[in-house]
């Protein structure tokens, strides 16, 4: 029972609980008491292990951002795969991630809006996209295609929009589209095939 309830250290229990609650409610709406309850532990232990709500949040935020950006950057800098393969791989793995943890996109966009400087510096993601293998391959695709070139950020916005938005808009989409959870997940899985095809269509459209 190496991974059971009893085995996880108290510190890990707190972090796991904090992740759940912060992702769901964001920093401001989260009460440390909620985290303690979610962890099945005493409130005082949060401060014993992490000093303050803010320090605990910073850790969760950093780990979440690294998980979110890290996966993409690994794929984007693989010299061995084509542009099209990178798109497919990115779409597929992010959809899997967001099916498991649907609150991540909204959580990140939110906290990044509230505090744009905070983590941007620590992770220096500044030019990590523009200098990637993916960006170079994008230019090659553009040159091959000819016609009016499309700014890479227009492309990235569209890729992320197709990929990420359904999870951010999920509550609204469920209402206006009369979808239950099962149907929603089925549609997200369908998008693994659809989005890459659409991306191709967008790039060919000029």
């Amino acid at each position: 029972m190496s991974d059971s309830e009893k085995d996880r250290s108290t510190e890990e229990k707190i972090k796991d609980a904090a992740r759940v609650v912060f992702h769901k409610k964001g920093f401001a709406a989260t009460r440390t008491r909620d985290i303690a309850e979610e962890a099945g532990l005493n409130l005082a232990l949060l401060n014993y292990y992490f000093r303050s709500k803010e320090k605990l949040f910073d850790i969760i935020m950093l780990e979440t951002m690294m998980g979110f950006m890290g996966a993409m950057m690994f794929v984007f800098n693989d010299e061995g795969s084509s542009f099209e393969e990178k798109v497919e791989k990115t779409v597929s793995s992010y959809i899997d991630l967001f099916i498991k943890e649907p609150q991540i996109p909204l959580f990140i966009m939110n906290e990044l809006q509230r505090n744009p400087e905070g983590l941007a510096g620590k992770l220096n993601i500044k030019s990590v996209l523009l200098n990637s293998v993916f960006a170079r391959q994008y230019q090659e695709v553009m040159n091959r295609r000819g016609g009016e070139p499309l700014h890479i950020m227009q492309f990235v916005m569209s890729l992320m929009g197709l990929l990420v938005f359904p999870f951010m808009g999920r509550p609204m989409l469920k209402i206006i589209g009369d979808l239950n959870d099962e149907k929603f997940v089925t549609m997200m899985k369908e998008r693994k095939k659809l989005v890459p095809v659409w991306i191709e269509a967008i790039l060919s459209a000029g």
Copy 2:
């Protein structure tokens, strides 16, 4: 000076200030003091006019939702315009709206996630999309096109993703794409032409 600082009633001043602060920070992170300060008024007046922070928030939320959904529903139920014209009109007017008030999408998605029941009932947006003229025209386009039919919600998710996501992801996109505000707005205006073309390409892609 019918629209000047002095003319607006105190109630309007509070609502305007509340809109600004709530849109920027969300419910939990907003302090009533911030609203009072933004309005240039005394804190006690908020309770005099609106009883509580929560009631004031509900009003702002309702108005924001109605502005957001209302514009779309008006276009979507126009019998006189084609499917393609509706897409163009929707894209164009939402981009204009979000350039003026960039925080709206994130604000709505957020508060809808925190409290999905809250306003959904009041506005009964449940079948307002599926029963619209737009939905009927979408089916006609699908039939004309032939091949594997695409669920209308897959289409709506994509349209909204292309349209709305850049504004929700703005802080991140500005960092990873090294964009300033001016460049960002220029790109959003470009999308008024790009998105309808891409939508066409997506529908033709099968």
